[in-house]
Symmetry: C2
Subunit: 404 residues, 2 copies
Amino acid sequence: MAETNAAMHPPLEGIRVIDLTRVLSGPFCTMMLGDMGAEVIKIETAKGDPTRAQGTLKDGFSWYYASFNRNKKSLVLDLYREEGKRVLERLIEEADVLVDNFRPGVLAAMGFGAERLKKINPRLVTASINGYGSTGPYVDRPAFDFIAQAMSGLMSVNGAEGTPPMRVAQPITDLVAGLYCAFGIVSALRARDLNGVGQHVETAMMNGAISMMAYLASEHLATGQLPERTGNDHPLVAPYGLFAARDGQIAVAPSNDVILQRFLNALQLGHLMDDPRYDTNEKRFARRDELSQLIDQALSNGTQDEWIDHLNAAGVPCGKVQNLAEAFNDPQVQAQEMVIEVEQPHHGPIRMLGFPVKLTGTPCKVARPAPLLGGDTRDVLAEAGFSGSEIEELLEASVVRATH
Amino acid sequence: MAETNAAMHPPLEGIRVIDLTRVLSGPFCTMMLGDMGAEVIKIETAKGDPTRAQGTLKDGFSWYYASFNRNKKSLVLDLYREEGKRVLERLIEEADVLVDNFRPGVLAAMGFGAERLKKINPRLVTASINGYGSTGPYVDRPAFDFIAQAMSGLMSVNGAEGTPPMRVAQPITDLVAGLYCAFGIVSALRARDLNGVGQHVETAMMNGAISMMAYLASEHLATGQLPERTGNDHPLVAPYGLFAARDGQIAVAPSNDVILQRFLNALQLGHLMDDPRYDTNEKRFARRDELSQLIDQALSNGTQDEWIDHLNAAGVPCGKVQNLAEAFNDPQVQAQEMVIEVEQPHHGPIRMLGFPVKLTGTPCKVARPAPLLGGDTRDVLAEAGFSGSEIEELLEASVVRATH
């Protein structure tokens, strides 16, 4: 419970990560390692991570790329050439972590299979994020968030009643697999402290998606029944969902009888809990349309904001459905600094999401903005022990590239 | 890259976690710590975690509870009483981690504020999972997944075109906040190794939800425009989504022109990429209904399974929309052991989700099934140094309870 203390070392200080990942799941994972103080060396091709050219570019810089690559260095390296592979080998010798999000087998085909990596550096923690895992019949399939959502069962429960299965709008199978991998990597680093040797960490988009099924999974496994799509309604509890205040809807989630009683009391409908038509969840569920009308009627004498203040004060979880602009301008979100502004040299300030993990002693910070393509090539090689003339030769032969 | 080795110590061996959490976000977090080898001591009230009575009970045991509480011990402790608080204090003296998912301020009101915890055990890593964070205007509000989804902007992008915002069916704000917290705790443990002192970790359901917004957030921040709900269609790319094979739909995600060319070639529609009506993404997006019809027509000469094999072999990410039964019986999911069976003493086998983080050297395992309520009370107290007569006194006074 130490206070923030500039003298404290961040969690991953001294950890060097060689980052072979691109686009989303991998860069999200390694960004979290960088946010925790690791030195992340992002290896890019001459064209750079595809996200450098995706989404809106402002003043020549992609805000999508910027928001997933803060706290990283960029080294442009041609891994199709033997000289490039030798550079990677030397980097791995001195590294703590190697992360890739290739399909299983690609890294080995490049000459960096598990056995060789262990020989190069037995303390190395290696980590892979892929679509389906590295064993099983689908190991060679290409993966994508939408497909992992489809196959995992995630889509089958998402959507409104009576409508087809629907994907979740956020690329959550990428993000969740990346987050699990960051957790696995830090865990494996701690195991290395105990054992003296590294090991391999693997997470898959499909497995991560399945792990999000929570009680939907346990209910299915217990009963064999398939969960139905219920949109904003709770599959088992009523009342629950969106209700109409005078000037708009509010979301209310009375998840148990105690909270429901508070909610109904606040609406001066407390007597309904004793009404033989509504005195059990089963009865309320069967008459939920009727009950919703009574609630909407009671809510119509106040505004959204009035009811949200009143109900929260009464201990009833509720809030407005907000769009991204409303959410990012919400005073709570601002107090939590969940949108931050990072000065991008030569490109002005870039706004991006903040840190979801708050640490009091060693808070996450932006130690460096997203790198220019090859912006750290010379520095990284010099720190890795390459001589000035070696670096010039590699540049001359376009095995590596540098922006300056 | 060590092989699995029984002599290797798991990542969190020797780490003792005092777990004050209940229901979902917190138990999910501490289960991950337990899966990584920590000793997790779950403190329960005499009634137990509410999930013990939720979902389907088989032979008296909740599969919901079982699936979130493996690898934990249960100690029943009355924290409303001074004697109970003294027991907690003694447990904290010897612990490494204390986790709660109370509203901010509740733990301090119980007498365990930050300063006191630091005095009891300066090496303690404390962690809180809450709804909105512990600073800002909403700090006292009760939280719930549905509300965090509504307020964070998550719902605003989820849903079909022309329909209202819709929640994601999975309780992802609970799970993501729990997962971030597990990552933060292991990171803080590593910082403790460097600094000699603990610190506080905090994650919030609202912040976790916002962090999942990915490129939807960066695009909004760059342009000021609000993302639209597009259901299963990609907001920017066409073709993309669900298409009709002879016996059912397949999900196809050609995320760039290279993959799209492969997809169209496989359908013998490769020429469309040169057709002036379809030769840019903009044109394809404008004529996506027309294009979908051409694709459906080409797909009609094969079955789902035939096309899925053929397209994956051609490097096109695709798959079936599966319900939970299909997903859990999928040979890939079985190969990845994402559904496991745990023998629950006195209650028979319980099926639950497996481990999303795969470690080669020290794989996660079920070292113990979910505990009986108070099943470890005596053992935990004895290990914490309570004498036999102290334990009997505490039991006698119902400060603690034990099942045996």
